[in-house]
Symmetry: C3
């Protein structure tokens, strides 16, 4: 049990106590799973994207999660509007640049959101982090064509330049603010067999950042918690349908004392 | 076994016999779960929202369900078009004012649909019913910030004024047409752990109203049936992933004789 | 074990080896389930629909799947743009005309996509195939009001006229290119209890066509594989919630040797 693990356990307890309202503008594929994951965890999800209600909705929220999968023009306008309100209010904004690098539309949108909003955490796989860091590139769709080790340097530079936390996730998650880096070793390969596990990680990061302003620590805590849930779920099933269901169960069942015992977070 | 329970059992048998086509214009988060719930129950779901096909689709339907979660301009136009056709044809329209009160956009849209369409049943939590009744308000996102008891009087006045049935659901569901009220005591707290359980209740109300023109009775029957399914599902699992899957199973497995024995509907 | 079954087994092995990127423009209801099915199978799904990125996304893909459920104007433009790129690149295009015949909007869109794109396979139920073949008609929503036997002749003529493969699926699947026909006998009635099983079949056809240019054979192989997974899933549960989860499990667990032993494909 490390000091990082104890802090992570405390973060989870805080989420369950405060039940932060997490406003998600996310993709169609993962919307239901993400909402269920946040509910199971103990947070309060809301999904809304219309520019007409972004001012009101983003004003109620404790965190904003922007996810550019299944992107289109009207959704970008919703993201920009919500991001503007969240930036002014100073609530955490977590950005998931799904598929950045696969198309210029996605890379450009991610960069534009970074330019216009005060993003707290960017979470992506290696290819996405590299694409956002370079402002261009080509990946294999939404897959992780690069290994996470390839993105460590770019993640650090991007974090320092943008004054945010960057989490490049993979077999090991690297979380950096440009000067300090935490490595999270929790997780299980079966998580790659269900759609939206990365997007769910991002949403959980939003919930943790809503209750802890130290974003580096909150992000590592969220990823460790999610990874522990994945490890437990994999003990129930390695097949993707039942694994995906078990993962939601475990997001509810994992307690702070599990996190204190099992989180593997290293400086 | 009460007379209300026997009627509810008969309503379920009618849904399974007639397999009503329920046209849903609903939110992205719950679309798959709602369709699966209606199929499991024995109804025939269709999801369509484009204004170009609302005339044709609403002409085929036996009931129309309007749900304003993840609302946007084009979807409002689809709802208005479908609601117009359904009003002229005299098929039941069930409205779920998701998040009314959280944003003016949602409250105004709910009120506008009530003004323009002949809504048969409005189903919401206490906060949503209060917001629609007052035409304004502020809730905690899509959560039920108010207890259902707080909404009883407003529900009755709204029902009388709009000549419709209002179902304010919570630990106990209150279903009223302004002069008569039925209380439904079935249900389980685990239903609050999955996203869209309220939206699913609304869709099931649509299926029951399609086969029974007595909307007060049909709504109470639908809510009792859904609550019984939730009670049985909770015996299989209290964890949200497996509970949500079991709930779909039970919507298929609960028979009219279960409803006759277990429905708790009080005048 | 027939020669067709052996070929089908080999097709499955090829999908798992090559992990084709399947670009889906599909409906909101089934998007998550389809993505999970493709991942479980061993393919690589991407969902994207905005016209701004269709050139780029369709250029990365190994197959394109177009599905007209929950259709709207902007999505038609995305489908046309992606279909144009895929036609020029010569990658397989699989079209699912969900609800064709139910509304003119859907029938017309399906016919327009056939006119403008080089569609490789059309997969639908009997009503949808008849509607597309006739360019008009009336079905009961998205249900199969006609038996598949009613659509065999129309499927053959449509396939010959459009120089594509037509799969009219039902209790028995008929797959034809206008001169040759394969019948696939695998499958289980429980598959009709979950939403989007037809749409999932279409997506799996896309994955198989990506690795085998003989579209008639690849389509029959995909449908046999999906049917075998359904048969195994039904041995675990006949209730729709757990059946749907088990079906995803089986898409992952069914091996080529299962397909070689159990595929029932007849000339």
């Amino acid at each position: 049990m490390s000091s990082h693990a104890e802090k992570a356990a405390h973060n989870l307890a805080l989420v369950r106590e405060k039940r932060p309202l997490v406003h998600n503008i996310t993709n169609y594929v993962v919307m239901q799973y993400t909402a269920n994951a946040l509910l199971a965890l103990g947070a309060s999800p809301v999904m809304a994207h219309a520019v007409e209600e972004m001012e009101a909705m983003a004003s109620l929220a404790d965190a904003l999660v922007l996810n550019i999968g299944t992107l289109s023009g009207p959704w970008i306008e919703g993201m920009r509007a919500a991001g503007g309100v969240a930036s002014r209010r100073g609530i955490p904004i977590v950005l998931d640049p799904v598929g950045a690098g696969a198309t210029r539309f996605r890379t450009d949108t991610a960069v534009r959101l970074l330019d216009e909003c005060r993003v707290t955490v960017l979470r992506g796989n290696a290819s996405e982090v590299l694409a956002v860091a370079r402002g261009a590139g080509g990946t294999r769709g939404v897959d992780a064509a690069h290994r996470v080790e390839d993105a460590i340097e770019a993640a650090g530079e991007l974090a320092a330049r943008r004054r945010m936390v960057v989490a490049a996730t993979g077999a090991v998650d690297h979380v950096t603010d440009g000067s300090r880096t935490l490595r999270v070793l929790n997780g299980h390969p079966s998580m790659g067999l269900i759609t939206g596990s990365g997007c769910t990680a991002t949403a959980i990061v939003g919930a943790f950042c809503a209750v802890n302003t130290r974003a580096l620590e909150a992000t590592a805590a969220a990823l460790a918690f999610f990874g522990i849930a994945g490890e437990h779920a994999a003990r129930r099933s390695r097949l993707p349908g039942t694994f995906g269901t078990a993962l939601i169960d475990l997001l509810h069942a994992i307690r702070p004392d599990h996190v204190a015992d099992e989180a593997r977070i290293e400086a």
